[in-house]
């Protein structure tokens, strides 16, 4: 398969039309993910792209640059597939494709973190493509090394790499990354998190909660907008009368980060609501706040080193704390484990996490199909329909945690 969902977001169109205009704007930004950055670049702004959720964007902001998360979810992979194996994570294949095609040439730099092995391979692949001349231009790719044990040596190492990144970005942006420039960047990030925390609360309202689909789009759009602009838009949207949705069984999604909204849509079509996701595209984007005491650079580093979701955090129990706490929080009716092919990592955690859900008195379902592909959706929709039905108060019936879709 060399094309990932060519029709892009068309299935969402009927939902976007129902909602108010500011949401439509978020939706457009979410759909056309390079749009705002391209526009900013045309206005003279220096754009620094980054991959994943462990690159400290506060450094990019402090350097006077526009941080753009490079997170394509659709498009051809025909050129990339000549160099990157088909079982590689889809986002990495799509990024390689964009890089080869010159679609990322408007970036001044592309920062790739070592928050997954796939991203390190991505870094090596992009470097090689340029070395052998397959990618003619393409921004310089910077590896941002972040380690994963919580040993002192690992922390010191990561802090040193963060200082180096700050220096490099200072040159790129022309503004020094220092305490004075970092403090407002941290304040802006914390403002985003406070606003997103409000959004999370509104998802859990008993009456007319904000839908999981809406919340996901609005949260995700922040990755593609300038920070201050986003904060203003988000604050305005939260203050405006939002179109809530009918309450239904409340689901927690655990597994591969959802950089698309298809699963949310399927859950809502089934009559349920995704009220939390254990990933940075959803509920985890709202917390925790960055520390505001002490060294700003250290505060930024510590946040990305040990507080954001990362599959390499060691020991894994540290990264599972949020999930374990949320299982017990009382606002969850069931859990959907989303481990689509080609997951080869998070499946190791599944039996243990499944047991934790059951111990919390919750049923669960496992989805192994990638629902970004239209052909996979009907089976998943049918499974979710039954599952959500089983969670309705009057539904009774199916409480056996056994279904697997693949």
């Amino acid at each position: 398969m060399d094309t990932v969902k060519p029709e892009d977001h068309e299935p969402y169109a009927h939902m976007a039309e129902k909602v108010i205009s500011p949401f439509h704007y978020f939706h457009e930004v979410y759909r056309d993910r390079l749009r705002e950055a391209r526009s900013a670049q045309r206005s003279g702004k220096v754009i620094v792209g980054y991959v994943g959720n462990t690159v400290p964007i506060e450094l990019i902001i402090a350097a006077g640059c526009f941080p753009l998360r490079v997170a394509p979810i659709a498009g051809t992979t025909a050129n990339a597939d000549r160099y990157v194996e088909s079982f590689t994570d889809v986002d990495a294949r799509l990024i390689v494709e964009l890089y080869i095609a010159g679609e990322l040439d408007f970036l001044s730099r592309l920062v790739v973190p070592r928050s997954t092995e796939a991203y390190h391979k991505l870094y090596l692949s992009l470097r090689e493509l340029k070395r052998v001349g397959v990618a003619q231009a393409g921004p310089e790719v910077i590896l941002y090394e972040i380690l994963h044990t919580q040993r002192t040596a690992s922390r010191e190492y990561g802090l040193a790499r963060t200082r180096e990144l700050a220096k490099r970005l200072s040159v790129v942006g022309g503004s020094p990354v220092c305490d004075d420039s970092l403090a407002p960047a941290i304040a802006a990030s914390n403002q985003t998190r406070r606003l997103l925390a409000r959004l999370q609360q509104s998802r859990r309202r008993a009456d007319q909660p904000v839908s999981g689909y809406q919340a996901h789009i609005v949260t995700g759009a922040g990755n593609f907008l300038g920070r201050h602009h986003y904060n203003q838009l988000l604050a305005d949207w939260l203050d405006s009368p939002q179109i809530g949705t009918a309450p239904g069984p409340r689901l927690l999604v655990k597994g591969c980060p959802l950089d698309h909204a298809y699963l949310h849509e399927l859950v809502e079509m089934a009559g349920g609501q995704v009220v939390a996701e254990d990933d940075d595209w959803g509920a985890r984007a709202a917390e925790p706040l960055l520390r505001t005491e002490g060294s700003p650079l250290a505060a930024v580093f510590d946040h990305y080193y040990s507080e954001v979701p990362c599959p390499r955090t060691f020991p894994a129990s540290l990264g599972e704390q949020w999930f374990m706490k949320t299982l017990q929080a009382g606002f969850i009716d069931g859990v959907v484990f989303y481990l689509p092919i080609p997951d080869d990592v998070l499946g190791w955690d599944f039996p243990r996490q499944r047991a934790a859900a059951e111990a919390a008195g919750l049923t669960w379902r496992l989805v192994r199909s990638d629902v970004r592909y239209p052909e996979n959706r009907p089976a998943v929709a049918a499974m979710l329909g039954k599952y959500v039905g089983s969670l309705q108060p009057e539904g009774g019936g199916d409480k056996k945690p056994l279904a697997t879709i693949s």
């Binding site: 160099y83 040596a153 190492y157």
Partner: protein
């Protein structure tokens, strides 16, 4: 039918593995001695130096696969809820602990180790080893695997004498610290003191061992026809590598060198009808090593090269051992990148193809072991650019369940007839 063993060394290496493992089991069960389960890319040297026998995860997986037990274990993992797309090569050992095959367990099965050790390379390895350590109730020492951004493509020109230049100084510093963490764990376990001078002399012995392999490698590459099939190269080399630096390993490496040299001097070829020279790129096809000889009779197509022999001298040798721990760290820090990733792996394999007069390359693409498979297309691309035809074989190195021998042989026949003849 399995090809006959042509070297006396091969039989000795196989026997050594069995008797050594039986000794480990006896020492653990009867004398309560500690042993370790560790990843192939960890510094075995420190364990040997501190007197802790090691079972290498990948070696154990190969044993399981050779005994055709991988299906039973992997089916068992699936029943426990671990889905079928998880890495198999590194998890087969874990499976052999979680699933009790009773008397079918290979060589009686793994006893409880005192310690496990893994580098945090791919994202799954910390999970596999954590589960494994938990299931045994044993300590896990995890070693960081910092990512490389200095990428010397002709790394083999630096690795022996200029190893400081192979990676960023700060990565090397970190790896020295990481090895220190392991040393402290081993000191605690054994109640012995780590001695840097002893490590230096141990690494000198490893160098000597790899020098024998260097000679054997050159003999094989330059012989008119390949004197040793790769399955026998691998058995001899890896038996010694897992025990590297020990008296047995040195003696065995020397014997292997001598036997190869004698065969070359006597004009003996593994396959006298050799007409095509093939290289096998990737891990061994442990569940079906007969595949390597399946094309000799009909086409004179002989697999003459795999990474296992030449990688030893090119990567393990470290001269200049004033700081032996730093030298050891330089070997550990970039091991996976060198074996699999661009630019290291493609440039090295193209170089090896030239040295060995390779006509065609067969590349293993194990989708069920992504860390091993990543980078394969860059290698294929580099080989093709160098004029070496390539064939990708999608198969797992240890999981025979998806292996279609007929289809694989058909692909090989097509490759030989269409691109090599």
């Amino acid at each position: 039918m399995a090809a006959e063993k042509q070297l006396a060394c091969t039989l000795a290496a196989g026997e050594k593995q069995k008797t050594w493992f039986a000794e480990v089991r006896r020492d653990v069960f009867e004398a309560g001695k500690p042993y370790a389960i560790i990843q192939a890319d960890t510094p075995h040297d420190l364990f040997h130096l501190m007197g802790v026998p090691v079972v290498t995860n990948q070696w154990w997986a190969a044993i399981i696969a050779t005994k055709q037990l991988s299906g039973d274990y992997l089916d068992g993992l699936a029943k426990l809820g671990y889905h079928e797309d998880l890495c198999r090569y590194c998890s087969l050992g874990l499976a052999s602990t979680l699933i009790d095959l009773k008397e079918s367990a290979p060589w009686g099965g793994l006893p409880k180790p005192a310690i496990l050790c893994a580098r945090l390379t791919c994202d799954c390895i910390q999970r596999i080893f954590s589960l494994w350590a938990d299931s045994f109730g044993a300590e896990l020492v995890a070693i960081e695997a910092p990512g490389s951004s200095v990428l010397p493509d002709r790394w083999w020109e630096l690795s022996r004498h200029r190893w400081e230049e192979l990676s960023e100084p700060y990565r090397l510093d970190l790896m020295v610290e990481e090895l220190g963490t392991l040393v402290r764990a081993l000191e605690k376990l054994t109640d012995r003191r780590f001695d840097k001078a002893k490590l230096r002399s141990f690494m000198e012995r490893v160098n000597e061992q790899e020098e024998y392999f260097e000679e054997a490698r050159q003999l094989i590459a330059r012989a008119p026809k390949c004197p040793v099939r790769i399955s026998e190269q691998i058995t001899n080399v890896m038996a010694a590598q897992w025990h590297r630096g020990t008296d047995w390993a040195l003696a065995h490496a020397r014997s292997f060198r001598d036997e190869v040299g004698q065969r070359v001097a006597d004009g003996i070829a593994a396959c006298p009808e050799e007409r095509l020279r093939l290289m096998w790129v990737g891990a061994g096809l442990w569940h079906n090593t007969d595949f390597y000889t399946a094309f000799e009779e009909r086409y004179g197509a002989v697999f003459v090269w795999s990474m296992y022999l030449p990688f030893g001298p090119d990567w393990y040798i470290r001269y200049g051992l004033d700081d032996p721990l730093r030298a050891l760290a330089s070997r550990v820090v970039t091991m996976n990148e060198v074996l699999h990733n661009p630019p290291y792996a493609p440039s090295w394999i193209v170089k090896e193809a030239g040295l060995n007069r390779i006509d065609g390359a067969v590349l293993l693409m194990p989708k069920g072991s992504r860390p091993s498979a990543s980078g394969t297309l860059f290698i294929a691309s580099a080989l093709e650019a160098a004029g070496i035809p390539t064939l990708l074989v999608e198969a797992d190195m240890v999981d025979a369940r998806g292996w279609d021998n007929e289809a694989a042989e058909k692909a090989m026949v097509n490759f030989i007839e269409k691109r090599l003849q």
